[in-house]
Point group: C2
Chain length 254, copies 2
DNA sequence: AAGTGGTCTAGACCACGTC
DNA sequence: ACGTGGTCTAGACCACTTT
């Protein structure tokens, strides 16, 4: 698609149409399309602002504004003198971007994800609704534990549409020694853009108590997360329990 | 202060200095100064971009970029055709900006804040550290309950430096029928810019159980919040317990 | 030296709101 | 009709990185 016809004389018409969006947003969505199509992969450079401006027949400033917004959304990363890159979960700074747990004292140590189990199932009502798939559609369920300094702090049950994660198995999980999202990105080409968490307080049941090595009935955080990729498409649902004896959930409100 | 001398020939020198910041950031900090000094009050219009450009001897585009950032930070609010306004907690859309509680089902109803108690005290170690005041400095402590549809859901204990909240009393709190932050802004000229919450799971003690009408030992969210005004100055510390039987804490991760 | 993003400027035109 | 913010353009120069 080319944006040129919308310029100058035609812009007026476009502006009055109900679906009008400014040029830089059209450019933004064209860049999104290129990302979704895999034209530029996570970690790679995208073309320079000048090149994109020529490709889309707009000024460099308009491309710049589009990229500005995408950089603010953690979709692209600018590096002065080098270029603009597709954000990647393999980047150490992005690796645990969605993890809000902070140790009560001491430095922030990187957690270690220990896969426990991985099996196939059919989507129940809730999984189908949250993942926007058919009731009964094939899904993959993963159980894993997050450990900080060898200590289990988080127990997760993760629901994935099998269509997008073909080939995922306990062996694959065990052979990966980095974050889950970096595995998802590298192996399945899925980049997580944003997530939404619902947090409640619950009492530890027998299983959770054993897993996190706390007493039965200990209050835990229940954290439900739905994670979205490009186009606000949900691709992961996880239910976790967090022990908050040595850690807390930190949230910045802006 | 005038920025003109930094332009053109002198810019180079400034750029090489260790404290260099781009022009639009200098403008941003000048606008911050005007806000802190009370030159423009919450809810009011600030001068137009053209006027500010003339005042600071920069181009309109540079002022625009400064305002862009402040609008993204919820410090200013743009309204096309009308002007740029100082964000206010009296604005219905900002009133419960920091409250992340959402009902399990049904529409989002506005909570009602019921003050319970208000007394003077001296800052303990933790309050002094978090509020960045002297140990033993005078503070005000407020207890209140947040109710949704007449049902108590949150119990808060709020610690305020008395120096900034002179005259606050239970009567003042009871005579105010809007959000606490809108009271703080209107009565004490304090606008909250950002906050940080630490969340843990705890068991309800006797007092909390009675207050929130749940069983003794029910798991609750413990939410500690420090709230900051201009210049990252902490002005409020609150410790709350949230019942998550009919509500949950919703967090958007970006 | 050449290429990239980062800043700053100046001017044109559009959309929205008020008078 | 006028003033406000919103968009788009074009061009200059700076800072960082690589060749």
């Amino acid at each position: 698609m080319d944006v040129a016809p919308f310029l100058c004389s035609n812009l007026h018409m476009v502006r009055e149409s109900p679906t009008f969006s400014p040029l830089y947003r059209q450019i933004k969505s064209l860049i999104f399309q290129a990302l979704e199509s895999g034209e530029w992969r996570p970690g790679q450079v995208i073309p320079s602002e000048q090149e994109l401006a020529a490709r889309f027949n707009v000024s460099q400033g308009t491309v710049r504004k589009a990229i500005d917004e995408m950089a603010a959304d953690n979709i692209l990363v600018r590096r002065q003198g080098k270029g603009t890159f597709v954000a990647s979960h393999n980047d150490p700074r992005q690796m645990f971007r969605f993890l809000r747990l902070v140790p009560e004292e001491g430095d922030l140590t990187h957690p270690y994800s220990e896969p426990v189990d991985c099996w196939r199932a059919k989507a129940g009502q809730e999984a189908a609704r949250l993942l926007a798939i058919e009731l009964g559609a094939p899904i993959i369920i993963v159980r894993r534990v997050l450990k900080f300094d060898q200590k289990p702090v988080v127990g997760d049950e993760i629901y994935l549409p099998e269509e997008l994660f073909r080939g995922l198995s306990l062996e694959v999980l065990q052979s990966w020694n980095s974050s889950l999202y970096s595995l998802f990105e590298t192996r399945f080409g899925l980049r997580m853009i944003r997530a939404q968490e619902r947090i409640r307080a619950v009492a530890a049941d027998r299983a959770a108590a054993e897993l996190l090595r706390v007493d039965d009935g200990t209050p835990l955080l229940s954290v439900e997360r739905v994670t979205y990729t490009y186009g606000d498409k949900p691709v992961e649902w996880r239910r976790g329990v967090y022990s908050t004896v040595g850690h807390y959930y930190l949230n910045e409100l802006t």
